[in-house]
């Protein structure tokens, strides 16, 4: 499987690339700015549970549409704060029976860590979310660089937790480079 090839018309605006990365204290502002850019704060009032800061009873995955109603990113919400620095998400995408490409991701967590925008990356450039079938592999690392280990050091096998999600995304354009 090849990494997704970058296609110019799919790129998110260039300011996205200049925003701080996860780990920077201002990444929460980036989270807000993505929704500002998508026009969500100017839209008609949303239902209470559809608001950005509405916490679901259990984790849910949402699609963030921009002002042109084109899917721009995925939004993963959790019931409790999560240390998103430990999270690693790989996205596989297909239109045909077999998965054709892989997107790396850039995570933009909310200030409280209960939500996180997943930006798809093609050639390290954030891109919109194409129509198609998706398989998401999420890994939560117990051990990571300078962060405190979450597991007993004796238990060397359990270094991460992994889950996979498959879904069909019917909106937006067809990835066609």
């Amino acid at each position: 499987m090849t990494p997704a090839v970058f296609a110019a018309r799919w790129a998110l605006p260039s300011w996205v690339r200049r925003e701080p990365n996860i780990g920077n204290s201002d990444v929460g502002l980036f989270f807000f700015r993505l929704f500002e850019w998508a026009g969500i704060f100017e839209a008609n009032p949303l239902a209470a549970d559809e608001r950005v800061f509405a916490r679901p009873a259990s984790a849910d995955l949402n699609l963030v549409m921009d002002s042109t109603r084109t899917p721009a990113a995925l939004l993963l919400r959790t019931a409790e704060p999560c240390d998103w620095r430990r999270v690693d998400i790989t996205v596989l995408h297909r239109m045909k029976p077999e998965f054709e490409r892989r997107f790396e991701t850039r995570l933009v967590p909310a200030p409280d860590g209960c939500a996180c925008v997943i930006l798809l990356l093609a050639d390290e450039i954030p891109v919109r979310v194409p129509r198609g079938e998706y398989a998401l592999r999420l890994r939560y690392k117990y051990r990571l660089d300078d962060l405190a280990s979450l597991v007993n050091s004796v238990d060397s096998n359990a270094t991460l937790d992994e889950c996979q999600i498959a879904l069909t995304q019917p909106m937006g354009g067809v990835w066609n480079v």
Binding site: G28, L29, R33, P81, D112
Partner: protein
């Protein structure tokens, strides 16, 4: 190789002086040239002989004594009876003496790289001949003399045949093991003609060694006169009488067995060495040729006198000295000469050496050596400002007859000062290190001499001569205007004070009433430049790799550097510093190499040849190129203060607008100011060094209050109970993009019930009570939207007022302006 001195000095030896004879070729009016000192008589023709005078030297060993007479011996034409060695020469010079092959012998191998004349310390010879095979590596060779004081350096290529004559030649040292056709051979002229060559020389004259001390000039002139009795004498009567007096004193002291008066003896030696004419009149030389009829003072065998012809003749001089043991004979070294006319002198090629003449002002104070060596007396007069010029020339000659180069630097008068002649420097190649390149002998002359002023053009007067009084005046070099190395020190700044309100800065010079600009500044439109360090421009430093250093054609050094600095960096770094380990040098320029690489040329003055300036491993060394502290780019001219003709500054304080340094200025910052002297001539400006900078903090006005309408919306409450807020410019002006925005918020107490006089403005209350939000100062998104989270807002009941302040915040100096205060009614947006 700016220096050709070997890095390991050979030991200097004290060897006994050798009684040495030299003979010219045939000299007559056809090849004598114009006389150096005016005279109408044609030069008497013949072979000119001269010998040195080691008889009174006591270093080392006993003094021989002043000789009674010199007997001049001469063989017949040796070409008929002996095999004469004619060396084939590709490098060096054509032989001045052609000797029988028998007198050439193999040198003694001291090591792979060194051959000596003999095994004894003081063994010496008169010429050397070396042949490299066609497969030899190129090598450097250095000739050393017995005293270790004179040297000749030569680069030899494969197949080269090198011939060089050198008095007291002792050894040849190669830079690495050469491949030689044969062992180097040397010519030893310290032989007795009769014994070594099995020939019978005849005495052609007996020169009275003492008669001159009591003979008047008019009578002694017959020693150097034409056959029709015209003396060829240019020495004046007074000069001759002085010589005679000194000669008599020396003879008298020697005969009495006492130390000869040193000053007198030295004077005689110098007179004879610098003027063949003096040597002949003093009986320290002889002309084998034209004389007036008769035996003269010297029992000349008139019939035996030489006439112009081919052939090679051997000469030797016998000195006879009276000692308590009787008459003792001392034989000079032999010399072989041909009565063929000698070639004439010719002008050398003279090259101005890079970087050309450089002049600078120096302060000099008279210092008297005083009565005791450790108590010099320093003059109480003020130090004198004098301009000195430093210039180097290289003189090339391929004419073996050009034995002495006479050079004298000159300069034009200027500003009422006349040039004081510094005299003529004459020296033969033996006096200093010479470099041989092909048939050229290259000598270098460096002068440091006082010139009237910095705008005095300088040039070199050149003449060549030989040891036979021939002299050729050559064309002088072109006049050159020296480059000024200006070191005038400006009055430094005492302080610099910025005024944030007026946006000006006041620069005050040091209140030193005694300071006066130097003479160059007074005469060349000098002024004190007030400089500001260019804000935001850092001194450039580049890490590079440097190859091994090598000598460039202009005698500067160069090294290939990589990666290649950009053209703009090359410009910036020119004049800066190259640093490799502990080695530092000034960068002269960058120039392209033959295959696209870039060569950095730099100044270095190695103490000796082959000195390693810096070491490289695998052909590379880590290096740093850094911009000069005085680089134009780093400083900005702010203002100038004129210098009055008396050297005092026109004023000691200047106030200038800050906009002349930085425009627009948008932030507080610290400026740095300094001074330097500038002088101009011929449209060219030179600068002295930059003084120590002084700092001046500038406090910029804080940012203004944002003036716009803000729409506040509550986005929700996060997990930690912070109410998220969006403040957006609503259909009005945008937030100023030059600034970030700080947002504070508070639930302010209700003041509606308070009397008007007790009410506190919300801005002040906010300053006291306002809490910072979740984020620091932020850039408004697209000039429009700010986001912030406040815990206090979540604690504010539905329907109560909440107040936020939005202010402009300047990141560069952390200055924050007054806030725009907005109060809104909090809503419960749930969690």
């Amino acid at each position: 190789m700016s220096s050709f001195l070997p890095c390991h000095e050979p030991d200097r030896l004290a060897c006994p002086d050798v009684f040495r004879l030299r003979v010219s070729g045939w000299i007559d009016k056809s090849n004598f040239g114009d006389p150096r000192w005016p005279i109408n008589t044609p030069p008497p023709e013949g072979m000119r002989l001269r010998w040195n005078f080691p008889f009174l030297s006591a270093n080392p060993g006993p003094r021989i004594g002043y000789p009674l007479r010199f007997i001049v011996w001469r063989t017949g034409d040796l070409t008929k009876s002996k095999e004469i060695f004619h060396p084939e020469v590709k490098v060096g010079h054509a032989p001045r003496t052609l000797a029988p092959r028998k007198l050439w012998r193999e040198m003694h191998k001291r090591s792979d790289n060194r051959f000596d004349v003999g095994e004894e310390r003081c063994d010496s010879a008169d010429a050397v001949y070396v042949q490299l095979t066609s497969t030899s590596k190129p090598v450097q060779a250095t000739l050393l003399d017995a005293s270790g004081a004179k040297r000749v350096a030569v680069s030899l290529s494969p197949g080269d045949q090198f011939y060089f004559e050198m008095a007291e030649f002792k050894a040849i040292v190669f830079s690495e093991r050469p491949s030689l056709v044969n062992v180097p051979i040397c010519l030893d002229l310290r032989v007795n003609l009769k014994q070594s060559l099995d020939v019978v020389p005849s005495a052609i004259a007996v020169v009275d060694a003492r008669i001159w001390t009591h003979t008047k000039l008019t009578d002694i002139g017959q020693r150097l006169s034409t056959r029709d009795l015209q003396p060829f004498v240019t020495i004046g009567t007074d000069e001759w009488d002085d010589l005679r007096r000194r000669g008599a004193a020396v003879v008298q002291a020697t005969d009495a067995g006492t130390e000869p008066p040193d000053a007198d003896l030295k004077y005689l030696l110098l007179a004879a060495a610098t003027r063949w004419e003096a040597a002949v009149l003093m009986g320290w030389g002889f002309l084998d040729g034209e004389h007036p009829p008769g035996k003269g003072l010297d029992q000349i065998d008139g019939a035996a006198m030489m006439t112009r012809s081919p052939g090679i003749y051997g000469y030797q001089v016998e000195a006879q000295t009276h000692t308590p043991a009787g008459i003792v004979s001392t034989f000079s070294s032999a010399f072989f000469a041909s009565p063929d006319p000698m070639a004439g002198l010719s002008a050398p090629a003279v090259r101005l050496l890079a970087p050309g003449p450089i002049c600078e002002m120096q302060l000099s104070k008279k210092v008297d050596i005083g009565k005791l060596p450790d108590q010099p007396v320093i003059s109480k007069e003020d130090a004198r400002e004098a301009v000195y010029c430093n210039v180097g020339y290289e003189l090339d000659t391929d004419n073996a007859c050009n034995e002495v180069m006479f050079t004298s630097p000159w300069a034009l008068d200027s500003h009422g000062d006349t040039f004081k002649e510094v005299g003529e420097f004459g020296s033969s190649f033996g006096d200093r290190t010479a470099i041989v390149s092909g048939f050229k002998v290259v000598t270098r002359r460096d002068f440091n001499f006082e010139i009237p002023f910095v705008d005095s053009r300088v040039w070199l007067k050149v003449a060549v001569g030989d040891h036979w009084d021939r002299y050729l005046k050559c064309p002088p070099t072109d006049e050159e205007l020296p480059r000024l190395r200006y070191r005038g020190r400006a009055l430094p700044l005492d302080k610099a004070v910025c005024n944030g309100k007026d946006r000006t800065v006041t620069l005050d010079l040091l209140a030193d009433k005694t300071w006066k600009a130097d003479r160059i500044a007074r005469l060349l439109n000098g002024r004190i430049e007030l400089l500001s360090k260019t804000p935001g421009v850092e001194k450039k430093e580049l890490k590079v790799g440097s190859g091994p250093p090598f000598l460039m054609e202009d005698r500067s050094w160069g090294a290939i550097i990589d990666p290649v600095p950009s053209l703009s960096d090359q410009g910036i770094l020119t004049g800066g510093v190259l640093q490799v380990g502990r080695f530092t040098a000034r960068v002269i320029r960058f120039l392209p190499g033959s295959t696209g690489e870039v060569i950095c040329s730099f100044e270095a003055n190695p103490a000796c040849a082959g000195e390693r300036l810096y070491s490289v491993s695998d052909g590379r060394a880590d290096a740093i190129l850094s911009e000069s502290d005085d680089s134009e780019r780093l400083w900005k001219l702010v203002s100038e203060i004129k210098i009055f003709p008396d050297g005092t500054p026109e004023s000691r304080s200047r106030t200038v607008p800050i906009s002349s340094i930085l425009d627009p200025i948008i932030t507080s910052l610290t400026f740095r100011f300094a001074t330097r002297l500038a002088v101009s001539r011929d449209g060219r400006t030179d600068w002295g060094p930059i003084s120590a900078p002084v700092a001046a903090p500038y406090l910029h006005d804080p940012p203004e209050r944002p003036e716009l309408c803000l729409k506040i919306s509550q986005l929700g409450v996060d997990y930690y109970g912070r109410s998220m807020l969006r403040a957006a410019a609503d259909n009005c002006k945008e937030l100023d993009s030059r600034f970030r925005n700080a947002v504070v918020g508070a639930h302010l107490p209700d003041q509606s019930a308070l009397p008007e006089k007790d009410k506190v403005p919300p801005e002040r209350l906010l300053a006291q009570l306002g809490g910072k939000g979740l984020f620091g100062p932020q850039q408004a998104f697209r000039g429009k939207a700010l986001f912030e989270g406040f815990t206090a807002l979540e604690g504010t009941a539905d329907g109560e007022a909440f107040t936020i302040g939005v202010s402009n915040y300047r990141e560069s100096d952390n200055a924050e302006g007054p806030p725009l205060v907005v109060t809104f009614i909090a809503r419960d947006v749930g969690d």
